[in-house]
Amino acid sequence: MQELTTTRHNLHIDPTMTVWGWEIPVYLFLGGLVAGMMIISGYFIFSQRYKKTNCVTYVLPIISIVLLSIGMFSLFLDLEHKLYVWRLYTTFRITSPMSWGAWILILVYPVIVANLLMDPPKFIANKFPQLQKVKDYIHQRPMLIKNIGVGNMLLGGMLGVYTGVLLSTMGSRPLWNSSMLWVLFLVSGLSTAAAFVHMIAANVEERELLAKADNGFLTIELFVLALLIIGLSTSSAVHISAAKLLVSGIFAPAFWVFVVGLGVVIPLIIQLNAVNHKIKHTPIAPILVIIGGLILRFIIVQAGQYSHYLNAHFK
């Protein structure tokens, strides 16, 4: 038997760490969702699908800007020394994923804006008629359009990957310390984005294409979730203990019901039937995928903070 007693009672540290509240999961979710939308939009531009009528690629940039800004505001709310936020941009720390993320976010905005300028929304175009010249300039240059597509896919990929790397570099938290985490967050970002886009797409062909793509992403997500748990379960004692938090521990009910069940398996079954025309296209499945993606971020962030070298000996 081993018993530990401590006199420490630091706020948000003891008895278990809760320094990151709702702000970080919301940011990670919105970051992943925007990353997925950038990749989808970039692909539609690169593959010339943007020429088709009602192409969803024209509505994605403005949605991306709004969602990413909400995410960044949420990140800002999480900072305890808010007035010093500018310090992020006076340096670049190569070993800090958060520093990488701060600079990636700065690069993401111009790339989304370039996408937006291909066909600015009416409420913006009416206020700034000179944007028509920019639009004409872009549309006269097919290579520039391809580069905008590639830029969106590239930066979207970096954004999606970084949200996972941010957590996985922390060796102190065994649950996060997995090389599968960035793959999980990238695939989850793609699945939630595909779900969101096929929910709002006006073009029926696109809607079907994205529903099929979403089924692919959800299937991959299931495998990645399995690999994450298998990877942790076959590692050291602290990692096994971390895996148990999700499989059979206090986070297990939320993980199995909201992430695996309602977030992946059930929408996958609904969407498989929808793309095979057995049932009508329904927004229920994509809504479940989006909520599942959000809950996944909450569970990973909270369970990760809970997982600890010491807890492994006592749980």
């Binding site: 305890e80 992020l88 958060m98 570099t169 102190s172 010491l310």
Partner: protein, 179 residues
């Protein structure tokens, strides 16, 4: 360059918490927070039990996940004694270092920056001992240069059985407990 560390004799420590009070007073640690604390470890099965009282704080590790994850460079390794410090004016309070520490030795000060033990570097630079070491009534705490083979800490580590905390976390902590 010196590499400051600490050696704590668990055979002498009685867990009186003088070190805790001294730290709070010396460093104006706000109410409800601790830069150092006492952990009591009981091992074994009755009647064969052992008791170890540990005065714990930031381990000023050689491998510092808290420094490498800091996005602004606020968490840094000080020139004097390789002590791990936080520059309050550069810290944005992102809490990455708090999550990155396997010892949970950091916390967010009510003023918004990450805070922790500094080995009382302001005293050490004046040739004094850290406050916790200087007040210990049983003289169970020793502070010095781990790279100097003639320092008291090095001699104690060479002559007595000892262990750091959670070496499996891989951070090479610089506080050792004599057993």
């Amino acid at each position: 360059m010196a590499r400051f560390g600490m050696v704590i004799d668990t055979k002498k420590c009685v867990g009186c918490m003088d070190c805790v009070v001294a730290c709070k007073t010396e460093n104006n640690v706000p109410e409800g927070y601790n830069r150092d604390w006492i952990v009591t470890v009981t091992n074994g099965k009755f009647p064969d039990t052992t008791l170890e009282i540990q005065s714990q704080r930031c381990n000023h590790c050689d491998n510092t996940p808290c420094v490498s994850c800091c996005p602004t460079g606020a968490s840094h390794i000080h020139d004097v004694g390789n002590v791990v410090l936080v520059d309050h004016e550069m810290c944005i309070g992102c809490k990455a270092c708090v999550a990155a520490c396997p010892y949970d030795a950091r916390f967010i000060h009510p003023d918004g920056y990450a805070d922790k033990c500094t080995f009382c570097i302001h005293r050490v630079e004046k040739g004094e001992l850290p406050a916790c070491v200087s007040v210990c009534p049983t003289h169970c705490m020793y502070f010095g240069d781990l790279d100097d083979p003639n320092s008291e800490v090095s001699k104690l580590l060479a002559s007595r059985k000892n262990h750091p905390l959670m070496p499996e976390a891989g951070t090479s902590p610089r506080i050792f407990y004599l057993i």
